[in-house]
């Protein structure tokens, strides 16, 4: 029993440490919010890999980065940056919006 447990613990440790190792080489993209619009409006990311998006909100007021497709909801206060961890994604396109200004703040993430 103890042997099995220690084996499980070892495998879990390996999984965690490889995950931590993978983190340092994670791709990082920047998305800017200004005048309640995203730029760029289309981001291309590698499919099947973890990545990070740093959202730089240059507006004075808060925005909520929301994507039902990516299952992300994150409020970015005015004049702040926030990091969103994503992936690995299947190839395809994923829509996102700034929920507080949905008519102007729209974008797409394309995983290739």
């Amino acid at each position: 029993m103890i042997q099995i447990l220690s084996r499980i613990a070892f495998v879990a440790f390996l999984a965690l440490s490889t995950q931590a190792g993978a983190q340092s080489s994670t791709d990082e993209l920047t998305l800017t919010i200004k005048d309640h619009r995203f730029s760029p409006t289309e981001l291309t990311v590698p499919a099947g890999k973890k990545f990070r998006i740093v959202v730089d909100n240059q507006d004075a007021t808060a925005e909520e980065f929301e994507s039902k497709a990516l299952r992300v909801e994150k409020v970015i206060p005015g004049k702040k940056k926030a990091t969103i961890n994503l992936g690995p994604l299947k190839p395809g396109s994923y829509a996102f919006v700034g929920e507080f200004h949905e008519s102007t703040a729209k974008g797409t993430l394309v995983a290739k």
């Binding site: 007021t61 808060a62 925005e63 039902k68 409020v75 970015i76 206060p77 690995p88 507080f100």
Partner: protein
């Protein structure tokens, strides 16, 4: 005006549905209205505080503060709902027959309504803080104040109406089956909230996602649609669930469900002579 109405409606909806369930599930408990609406008041006060400190929360824990905060709020709500349901199961046979004994147990302190107060307060807090930030943004951006006020009230009224419809639908369930049905609804609600918490923990890089997308039913029932949103709150419906979300959902379901069965199967304790 419509823009603010739509957002306020969406944010209110989730809280309103949870309040309706809490009110239904605590039916027969004395002073439950006072408890639940105190929860709403506390939640509103809390949302102002959270909105004010949004920047500080977001920067906390190496930029993962918001995710950890949301996950924490959700997990506390899950444990309160679990506690409520497990407690109710132990008393179900007694109070299905006579509601008074339930009131008696509450009065003698074996069932604090504070659990339900907390669930309400947390639901309002989570949605309220976002609404405050959104409205403040429009306000600071120079939107017409009357428009903003009317839009918010309209959205609030819409959300409250749906909550009221759910509540009045619930109380029409015959008393004999009432606590079975509300128990099941609370169980599914708790499982759904646990899955949402898992999702925040993935975003904070604390949990592995296991599988990014176990199925995709967005063509059948999209989460952007109104039925999709309502089902998301009520039973935790997700159109593209991740592996870890499913694990949290099922484990919560199995744990609370199992405890409910165990408590229901126990011999009923004789009421102590008062």
């Amino acid at each position: 005006m419509l823009g603010s109405a739509v957002i306020v409606f969406r944010e209110t909806l989730e809280a309103a549905l949870i309040i309706a369930i809490v009110l239904g599930a605590s039916r027969g408990l004395p002073a439950r209205m006072r408890w639940v609406f105190s929860g709403v008041g506390l939640g509103l006060a809390g949302s102002l505080v959270v909105a004010f400190f949004a920047g500080t929360i977001a920067d906390a824990a190496q930029g993962r503060g918001q995710e950890l905060f949301n996950a924490g709020v959700l997990l506390v709500a899950v444990s309160m709902l679990a506690w409520h349901n497990i407690w109710m199961s132990g008393h179900a046979r007694k109070h299905a027959a006579e509601m008074q004994s339930l009131g008696h147990d509450v009065l003698t302190g074996s069932k604090p309504l504070s659990a339900m107060l907390l669930v309400t307060a947390l639901a309002v807090l989570r949605e309220g803080a976002e609404t405050v930030l959104f409205l403040y943004g429009l306000f600071a951006g120079g939107a017409d104040h009357m428009d903003l006020l009317l839009g918010s009230l309209l959205g609030l009224a819409g959300g409250a109406t749906i909550g009221a419809l759910l509540y009045f639908g619930l109380v029409r369930i015959p008393l004999g089956k009432f606590f079975k049905v509300t128990g099941l609804i609370v169980l599914l609600l708790a499982a759904g909230l646990a899955a949402s918490a898992a999702n925040y923990l993935v975003q904070a890089n604390l949990l592995p996602v296991l599988a990014e997308e176990v199925w995709d039913s967005s063509a059948l029932l999209s989460m952007e649609s109104m039925p999709g949103r309502i089902l998301h709150v009520l039973i935790g419906y997700v159109d593209r669930p991740s592996g870890i979300e499913l694990v949290f959902y099922l484990v919560t379901l199995a744990f609370i469900g199992g405890m409910m069965r165990y408590m229901a199967a126990r011999p009923v304790a004789k009421p102590a002579a008062a």
